[in-house]
Symmetry: C2
Subunit: 257 residues, 2 copies
Amino acid sequence: MVSKNQVKYIRQLEQKKFRQRERAFVAEGPKVVGDLITAGFEVLQAFAVKEWIEENRLTAVTTTQDVTAEELKRLSFLQHPQQVLSVFRIPADLLPIEKPSLPRLILALDGIQDPGNLGTIIRVADWFGISQLVCSPDTADAWSPKVVQATMGSIARVCIQYTDLKEFFNKTQLPICGTVLDGDDIYSSELPDEAIIVMGNEGNGISAAVRQSVDKPLLIPRFQQGAESLNVAIATAITCAEFRRRHHAHVSSMPTW
Amino acid sequence: MVSKNQVKYIRQLEQKKFRQRERAFVAEGPKVVGDLITAGFEVLQAFAVKEWIEENRLTAVTTTQDVTAEELKRLSFLQHPQQVLSVFRIPADLLPIEKPSLPRLILALDGIQDPGNLGTIIRVADWFGISQLVCSPDTADAWSPKVVQATMGSIARVCIQYTDLKEFFNKTQLPICGTVLDGDDIYSSELPDEAIIVMGNEGNGISAAVRQSVDKPLLIPRFQQGAESLNVAIATAITCAEFRRRHHAHVSSMPTW
């Protein structure tokens, strides 16, 4: 039996202010919840249908509450609820787990607004073995239900922090690369193996203040007159792919796990 | 003054069946409408606020109906209507305008379901100078208001047709490349300059029937264990970027316009 207060608590976690106060976020579905549990995220509450609990005897925490499909629907943010909904602790700023076989790339987001874009970018970072994401304070909140679901579980494997980007840059020695309209063709530019890659806001690109810190302005060349822009998640993917491809081209094999 | 019947007609154009019967689709906003007019799409109806009409004396067709912001809101599919809404003729299957300076790439979509993904893919095709998009009949309809808006005007520069993919393949001599789970690493594979690039459904990838036609199975390598998939629009962008990069690397300059 799910109480009214439980439903109210979960629904309030849609609000950033409430998430920050509670240091908690919601994740749903076997894939996303499973990835977060595997990564060691702290489970605060869990609601699941019998089917999921049966299949996850080992991972299902003892506090998992057995609910009906109807009850899950009342809790869920999804149109089609998926067996399980968990509340996890938002991790404190942690050091990312370095992948010794890969050069260090950090993704810095300067004012990304759309939750779908942010979720897709986190998924891209995960794919390309980028374990650290640094977001400006005005970037959309990664712990909102929409973003968490859009990451398809990748949020479990990428360390995310919100901080002033310029302050962050001052603390690292890595070269700062950013895609800007007046940048150099990424395909004919020398790229460092290790770098911070900055991506800007959907409409306005990288802010003037952050632009000053960019050591290496880059541009994805377009092949069609009239095409004016690429979606920011697409541009992020093409840029990260090119950095990894360059490194990949001069090492003998893919990372081993 | 916008009549009830006009509102009803526009709203009905949200349905694929109605669009097909009328051979008409809706586009909104100065950028998308402007790109379609520039590309020579036939305007069937147009509604615009005075501001847009003033600024577009040359392109505003004589039939453009002057509406108030309130009236535009009643017609619009957007949360924030943008000055102009037009109904255009869906073009009959046209031959794409070949870009003589670029090798021919054709994008084939096998069952893409999400309108946002389809719109983003059309935008990617435009950016990389791919002027022909061939869609399986079960792919989402490119002329739906959601897709048209998601293309940000790129739909004006990409020739789109719906047909059986295998039949289409039989009529061309181009090698057929496709991203599949058991493909060869795209970065260490030889890629032809000219090709058909097939992208599959969000959940299931390329269908078994179409898979048989793929001459060159490709794979975007992942750099992180646990990451299970890339969004299909992201995978399309990375693949198209790599094809164009290879060609770009062995020609002296970018295409001239």
